[in-house]
């Protein structure tokens, strides 16, 4: 399937040309910056939950970390939106690079892992207890946390490599 006509159409839209061509710092540079900030909060909070499962900060009641999950989702959605804008700016650069699909897959797996971790530690039981000892951590949960950390590290590395591994920048290049 040849997607070049579709990519050319995306690049011809006013939005794409604004993202790429506008001299405003709120265009491409600002979107990139939001993408990095969103990453910090999404991955940072997710990693903190994973580390708690793996034994860091043992006196933090694991269940109470659910209060931080909305921050994680805010970072995720900030990055979904800023990521789509970057994709509209440079569709050929991303969609013709296998590393981009690897990055998206790793993020998808990391989010599935988050949902599964959340179900195990945040949704069970009724009423929050401040006693951390009533939360036995199964080896299955530990494995999910380790997989989550690996997926995020991979997604970040893949994302950074996008700047070095693309074959074509735009349709006209």
């Amino acid at each position: 399937m040849n997607i070049d006509p579709f990519l050319a159409w995306v690049e011809s839209t006013a939005l794409s040309q604004w993202v790429v061509g506008s001299p405003s710092m709120f265009a491409f540079p600002g979107i990139l910056t939001l993408h990095a900030i969103g990453m910090g909060f999404a991955v940072g909070v997710s990693a903190a939950i994973d580390l708690r499962i793996l034994g860091v900060a043992p006196n933090v009641p694991l269940r109470e970390l659910r209060r931080f999950v909305p921050i994680l989702w805010a970072g995720f959605w900030l990055n979904a939106v800023s990521g789509v804008l970057l994709l509209i700016g440079y569709p050929t650069k991303a969609l013709t690079n296998p590393v981009f699909y690897l990055k998206l897959t790793l993020i998808a797996v990391a989010m599935v892992l988050l949902v599964r971790i959340s179900r195990q530690v945040f949704a069970t039981g009724s009423g929050a207890s401040l006693n951390p000892l009533d939360q036995p951590i199964s080896s299955r949960l530990r494995n999910l946390a380790i997989a989550s950390l690996i997926c995020w590290s991979g997604a970040i590395t893949a994302g950074r490599l996008l700047a070095y591994t693309y074959h074509r920048l735009t349709q006209s290049h």
């Binding site: 910056t33 910090g40 940072g44 860091v56 933090v60 931080f68």
Partner: protein, 180 residues
């Protein structure tokens, strides 16, 4: 300050074994990836603690949450190390870059702010009758911390858009923002 910047750039020079290694195909992207991972650890450790001070997860004892801080410091240490690699390789791209100047400014604010926290609020928050709700002063410090680190990320991310060009004519700004 101009002379100091020029001295720094010429002294570092970008000529070292480290700079040679950094110019190989994979070293720079790898160091960048580590720099982004460190960023996430920093926000995950320090940012989460700041959010707790501001009232997120207010049933978590603050002292318990503070155990995440060493992981934030680990992220910071990773970023100081990888950041140093970048500067040793391309000193002029950072020393003369206004975005880097702002990044350093926000890092300084973040550092002084953290020092203020430990000097003024630490004992009250971690003492025997520590409250679950942080005192107002600690909340202000937490908000400043979050803003400072977001500022550091912004300064870092915008570096490529403020690459210094060659100087034209006499420079009057406090810091040199072009390559002489």
């Amino acid at each position: 300050m101009h002379d100091f910047q020029i001295w720094l750039v010429t002294t570092i020079g970008g000529r070292s074994v480290i700079a040679d290694v950094m110019r190989t195909a994979w070293a720079w992207p790898l160091a960048e990836s580590l720099h982004f991972l460190g960023l996430c650890l920093l926000i995950g450790g320090v940012g989460s603690f700041d959010l707790r001070l501001l009232g997120v997860g207010r049933r978590i004892p603050i002292a318990a949450m503070h155990r995440f801080i060493p992981w934030g410091l680990l992220g910071f240490a990773i970023n100081i190390a990888t950041g140093t690699l970048f500067i040793l390789t391309e000193p002029d791209q950072y020393i003369y870059n206004p975005s880097f100047h702002f990044k350093l400014l926000f890092m300084t604010i973040g550092g002084l702010n953290a020092a203020t926290f430990y000097l003024t609020s630490y004992r009250r928050i971690f003492g025997p009758d520590a409250p679950l709700d942080a005192p107002r002063r600690a909340k202000v410090i937490a908000a400043i911390s979050l803003c400072a680190w977001i500022g550091v990320i912004t300064g870092g991310r915008l570096l490529t858009f403020y690459r210094p060009s060659a100087c034209e004519g006499p420079q009057t700004s406090l810091l040199l923002t072009c390559a002489p």
